[in-house]
Symmetry: C2
Subunit: 343 residues, 2 copies
DNA sequence: TTGAAAGCGCTAACAC
DNA sequence: GTGTTAGCGCTTTCAA
């Protein structure tokens, strides 16, 4: 039905010129209140929505952002929480009248072919801004290509690829609660990430003069059986951790279960933090706290910044493109408490 | 650098008119081989990529598909494997020169507001086709809105919302392997899905004359402790299931662990199938088979069909929009075997 | 087989 | 403040 309504129709209905309609939808101050009112009324009456394609052609702004990521090797699980990015990103973009497009660079693709693919997309879609997702954020050739076209760029660094260290932060937080006997159980999908977190954890304990990292560390992801045994062997003795950091959500649940069987109350006798979230952690008894890098928020922030740059007519494409600091988020849940007085 | 190359530049370089260039990129047969060759050479030489916006305006085809989904209520995990859809969808679309856009309808949004939001997006982006993702696939008002604009539509039905019943299929498969004592442990995020699977499972067992569904069924998702107990209580006795279906991946791992402690060999003494995949299932010993509805494939198929309809100049928007049958995929892994002779 | 003309719907300059 | 004039880069007629 509504197909075919143009700015012309709106202009006629409001008895103004197309330009005035254009000024209204572009928030130009140079429109009289009366005209503006008539135009807005006509717009809603007709249900008109300006065509992105037309605006793109005429205005030189596509109101479109492009997020580029590296596709997973076949069978490999994707390292990126794409759904979170999509959710957070589209929400921000849509709110500002922008669209967000995702572009997948084939996993095993050569540098040259990848550049070509991106170049093609840039040419076709003419995005107003591009976000390079890890591990592409470090590809300077892609960055150069983008900025060479005069397009704004942001690079997203997230957990594991990032300066922020969840292992360190978790240990720090627990130490702040008075804990000294803090354990760590690896379980990240990527061993490199585990090493990174582990190093951070060790740093904190060393700084606090604790030697728990000598006794209470599992460097490799345990399966269910191993995790059960491990937790039992740590928690049954009198000298035991008062807090445990687990990289995987599953292991956190195992620890919780073992604690329960040993009559250890969480969080009174044992604090628990996972470095990975999962719905199950929120519904366990008690729910288990999580410290992780929320990918959605920084991504949304990157989108916002790109849009702001365009809106501000700021023609500073190759300006700042600092990688976002990977901020960590602590989901406080009932599994955290101050350390018991003496241990 | 390359910014500003237009069809005009290519035409000049190839010593033809713009039309000829246009014909070449649109695969018109009415171009001489020589002209075509010159044009193609010029295109690659200049690195020209036709502007989507311009093509959209002039041609009436945006080469853009829109996937609409319902956003998750805050805190709620998304019911849709968005990343899989994104991966599979963009791959198919990009291969055909199309783009795929995702639109999120606010979760608690009213029907009217949802329609308005979709209408706005349809007007702005002018997609060539729209895919309604569950649970939006059943919203006839949205379907009508889309087709009213002359836009092709597909609706995707996936697991749980779909005719295909993973519980039934899993039971059927195990029965085909000779199993009669087949157990079922619920664990889907959505209880309605569990009910659905459970019903299917019961149907199969009843048809086979088995009464296992009287003894070996857990209707509510057990937590870790409950799952351990449950598995032990079922597997320790002489009369026990020879196969177990678990809805959650985590529970499958628990069962595997218990079986190991009881010296039951999987799959010799016990077959195992999960209705949810997870990387951990692939790396357990033995790896655990999965039967699930892969969302990516049917979604990609829907994209393909929408594109094909456009390419075929088939102006049959309100034509067939049959919901895709939710196909199930069995990932055969070493956890499946024929039932032991006697039990 | 090819080219010329005429837009698609909107915005950027300019006038008024 | 408002209208007018040109296009943006491509495809669609229609002629040749």
């Amino acid at each position: 039905m509504g197909r075919g309504i143009t700015i012309e129709d709106v202009a006629r209905a409001a008895a103004v010129s197309r330009q005035t309609v254009s000024r209204v939808i572009n928030h130009s101050p140079r429109v009289s209140p009366e005209a503006r009112a008539r135009v807005e009324e006509a717009i809603t009456a007709l249900g008109w929505v300006p065509s992105l394609a037309a605006r793109s052609m005429a205005g030189g702004r596509s109101r479109m952002l492009l997020a580029v990521f590296q596709g997973p090797a076949s069978g490999t699980p994707l390292a990126l929480p794409l759904d979170q990015l999509l959710l957070a990103g589209t929400a921000v973009c849509n709110a500002q009248g922008y669209r967000l497009l995702f572009e997948q660079l084939a996993p095993g693709i050569t540098a040259a072919a990848g550049t070509a693919q991106l170049a093609a997309t840039l040419g076709a879609a003419e995005p107003d801004g591009v976000i390079l997702l890890p591990p592409l954020d470090s590809r300077s050739d892609l960055g150069a290509l983008i900025e060479g076209r005069g397009i704004a760029r942001e690079s997203l660094a997230i957990a594991g690829h990032a300066p922020a260290n969840a292992g360190e932060a978790a240990a720090q937080h627990l130490a702040g609660l008075g804990h000294r006997q803090i354990a760590f159980i690896a379980g990240a999908a990527d061993p490199a990430v585990s090493q990174f977190n582990l190093a951070g954890y060790r740093r904190v304990l060393a700084a606090k003069g604790s030697r728990a990292h000598g006794h209470f560390v599992a460097e490799t992801p345990p399966d269910l059986g191993a995790a059960l045994e491990l937790a039992r062997s740590w928690l049954a003795p009198t000298i035991r951790p008062t807090a445990i950091i687990t990289e995987s959500a599953a292991t956190a649940l195992v620890v919780l279960h073992v604690a329960a069987t040993l009559k250890l109350a969480v969080p009174r006798d044992l604090s628990l933090v996972a470095l990975e979230d999962s719905p199950a952690l929120g519904s366990s008894r008690p729910p288990i706290a999580v410290l992780h890098a929320p990918a959605g928020a920084p991504f949304a922030a990157a989108c916002k910044r790109l849009i702001a740059r365009k809106e501000a007519r700021g023609e500073s494409p190759s300006a700042e493109h600092a990688a976002l600091p990977a901020t960590l988020e602590l989901i406080e849940r009932a599994s955290l408490a101050r350390a018991p007085r003496a241990i």
